[in-house]
């Protein structure tokens, strides 16, 4: 039996210390033929982890989660690995099949990198959810929203098409926040914009020659809307796509007050909605994604990428007459 040693501060275990299970699995991968899978960056880690765990459980394998992110399935059978791979690739995420011991070098490199990887960084302090209404009420009049300019290249010059008075929920909630909380924050800030519009407090940087597009919260159609800043055509209320079920009611209400409609939140898979027969609107705002380049947009001239996106977005927009959004200073 070991003697008790005098108490000394024990050194921290090295960052690269592997669990007993992982160590054993690495040995098995070195010694015997088995299959594996590397999934470096799954879109939804919960789903990828479940698929790999299922494969591991059914074939005596193990799922390793490196600190840098992603997953490795180790020591599984070929069949179980194939099933997991089919699911993960079917979801549209990359997966690299591994055959051990041939691919030991890849695994060893990853294990070595694990030793150098920093431990998981603590999550950024998120703003508390409770009390966000009071925080929104206390925000300064210019906080939580901004003015972006809608433009399109026509010939060699950009043509300004309008200005969108947008909410910026990051001012109220930051960090990784579930979509429903973010939506609620957008709603609170949208209600502030609407209240300002009711008393005619339009943004100081507004260009009177351009139509104003006003972000609206997702809410039931109200009894009354404020009139637009002037009688020029083209002013529109920007509704979240979630409000599409009330599109006709909003159309009547907005029309009576002098506004048109625009829709925010379109995706490539909903591109077919962007027609007046389906969704009445002057503009359709979408976030750019690679899938957007494959989608059949029925009216690309009424489409705007907001935020603008990367070079691919710019190239697609230039080629198809799609509009983009930029802050005034840009």
């Amino acid at each position: 039996m070991r003697q008790m040693q005098p108490s000394h501060p024990s050194p921290s275990p090295p960052a690269a210390t592997l669990s007993a299970g992982l160590t054993e699995m690495v040995r098995r991968c070195q010694a015997a033929e088995c299959a594996g899978l590397e999934v470096p960056a799954p879109g939804v880690p919960v789903i990828a982890a479940a698929a790999l765990e299922e494969a591991a459980n059914s074939s005596g394998g193990l799922v390793w989660r490196p600190r840098r992110g992603g997953f490795w399935l180790l020591g599984a059978t070929q069949g179980a690995t194939q099933r997991a791979r089919a699911l993960i690739e079917g979801m549209g995420w990359a997966a690299t099949p591994l055959a051990f011991p041939n691919d030991m070098a890849l695994l060893e490199a990853a294990l070595a990198a694990e030793g150098e990887a920093a431990g998981p960084s603590p999550p950024a302090a998120a703003a508390p959810l409770a009390g966000m209404e009071e925080r929104a009420a206390r925000m300064g009049p210019e906080a939580g929203h901004g003015l972006t300019t809608l433009w399109r290249m026509e010939g060699a010059a950009p043509r300004l098409l309008g200005q969108r008075w947008m909410v910026e929920p990051e001012a109220l909630l930051h960090g990784a926040v579930e979509q429903n909380w973010r939506g609620h924050a957008q709603g609170l800030l949208g209600a502030r914009l609407l209240a300002r519009a009711h008393v005619g407090q339009w943004p100081a940087e507004r260009k009177p020659t351009l139509p104003l597009l006003l972000d609206m919260p997702w809410m039931p159609p109200p009894e009354q809307l404020p009139p637009p800043p002037d009688s020029r055509p083209g002013h529109a209320l920007v509704l979240p796509l979630a409000a599409a079920a009330d599109a006709q009611a909003w159309l009547a209400l907005a029309g009576a007050a002098g506004w048109g409609l625009a829709w925010n939140g379109l995706t490539a898979s909903l591109a077919w909605l962007a027609t007046p027969e389906r969704l009445p609107g002057e503009w359709f705002f979408a976030r750019f994604s690679p899938a957007a380049t494959e989608a059949a947009w029925p009216r690309p001239e009424r489409l705007a990428f907001c935020p603008t996106g990367d070079r691919a977005a710019l190239a697609f927009a230039l080629g198809h007459g799609v509009a983009m959004c930029s802050r005034m200073e840009a």
Binding site: E54, G183, G187, R278
Partner: protein
């Protein structure tokens, strides 16, 4: 126990109370409607609160109920509860008789309380609890009673719901028994001049309005739809966690559950998915509401892709006909369209009917008409080639009502 009840009747009265509680829960679970008349004889006005008055009244009322399909429950408190399938006109006769016997005074009139199941199942359960003596002060409140009573003292009644209110409601949800708010509804094949309804699958729905009223009494979530979605997301997780248990999977029959798309990518769904063999996954239909799809298209893309890869059946849940133009012809690749019946469908003119029919999948077996509460609604469906239905009429046919 009520002091007026003779001891030899106590056991029978307790059995009646428990049977009534079971009936209330079953109605809540299945959605089968019942009319209830609660005769609060324990509150009989002073001077009449005697056993022989109660017996006289019971003897007078029983003959009225006997020829009907009503059931009479004799509670330990001395109260009587009559339960009848709708429309239950004879319950009105019972009430009138009671008033005639006791005198039509204001306090006597208050002794008869009408309730409807399943919507007021919680209130009926509270009656049973009180009758069983579970409402006494100093006793530890049961979880369910705490759940039902807590909202009554909502200090934020009448104010718009806030994130803090939702967080508090979520905390209450964590310890609540939700079974009283569950409604199982059946989807059946029912063809014109064919046999009776053939059960295809059963669907678990939550009585969301009742639940919201219990969690956030006198606070509407209508102005804050994102908060309502947040609450629904938590309810989804609870329902999924409940299903992901071995005992729930024994005797697994075809079933459906409406979910927010994002709920498919939650740990709770992954646990259920891991427990379901491929054959069972085929028997589970995941329903997604069109407004929920539009509110979170990215989550929906993930949910439908995962469902297809894993072999679940999928449905667009409870679509109002006015929203059919927002549906793509391929139904987003989902299997079933659940069209919700509204009276406006009966008022469509010829072109309107033609447009609606053109927007339905040609394979009409992919269409379910939900909200089919009356025969005329089933008839409307038959005229459009729809032979799959869900609603009160189906439940009543299945229960022989």
């Amino acid at each position: 126990m009520n002091a007026l009840s003779p001891p030899r009747e106590t056991a029978a009265a307790n059995r009646d109370a428990l049977a009534l509680a079971t009936l209330a829960r079953e109605s809540a679970a299945t959605g089968v409607e019942r009319r209830v008349l609660h005769l609060r004889l324990s509150t009989m006005p002073a001077g009449r609160n005697r056993l022989h008055h109660q017996r006289l009244l019971r003897e007078a009322l029983l003959p009225l109920l006997r020829p009907t399909r009503a059931r009479l429950f004799d509670l330990p408190s001395g109260d009587l509860v009559a339960v009848s399938p709708p429309p239950g006109e004879h319950l009105e006769l019972v009430r009138a008789t009671m008033l005639k016997l006791l005198g039509e005074e204001e306090e006597t009139a208050a002794m008869a309380q009408e309730l409807r199941l399943p919507t007021q199942a919680a209130a009926l359960l509270a009656v049973v609890e009180a009758a069983l003596g579970l409402g006494g002060e100093g006793r530890p409140a049961s979880q369910m009673r705490a759940w039902m009573q807590a909202p009554a003292a909502n200090p934020r009644a009448g104010k718009p719901a806030t994130a803090g209110d939702i967080l508090a409601a979520e905390a209450a949800l964590a310890r609540a028994d939700l079974s009283v708010h569950h409604r199982w509804q059946t989807v059946c094949a029912l063809v014109d001049r064919g046999p009776g309804p053939q059960v295809l699958w059963r669907e678990l729905r939550l009585a969301e309005a009742d639940l919201e009223a219990a969690l956030l009494p006198h606070q509407s979530l209508d102005p804050t739809p994102w908060l309502r979605r947040r609450l629904r997301a938590r309810l989804d997780k609870r329902a999924l966690a409940q299903w992901a248990r071995p005992e729930e999977l024994r005797g697994f029959t075809p079933r459906a559950i409406p979910l927010l798309p994002a709920s498919v990518a939650e740990e709770e769904f992954m646990r259920l998915d891991a427990m379901l063999p491929a054959g069972m996954r085929l028997q589970l239909t995941l329903g997604f509401g069109l407004p929920d799809i539009l509110a979170d298209p990215d989550a929906f893309d993930i949910a439908r892709r995962f469902a297809r890869l894993r072999g679940y059946r999928t449905a667009v849940d409870d679509v109002d006909a006015s929203l059919l133009p927002l549906l793509p012809p391929d139904l987003f690749g989902l299997d079933v369209l659940k069209l919700h019946f509204t009276p406006a469908l009966l008022e469509l003119d010829g072109p309107g009917r033609a447009a609606l029919e053109a927007s339905l999948p040609a394979e009409r077996e992919r269409v379910v008409l939900s909200g089919a509460d009356e025969p005329i609604m089933v008839g409307w469906g038959w005229e459009r080639g729809i032979t799959r239905f869900q609603g009160r009429m189906i439940e009543q046919r299945l229960s022989g009502g």
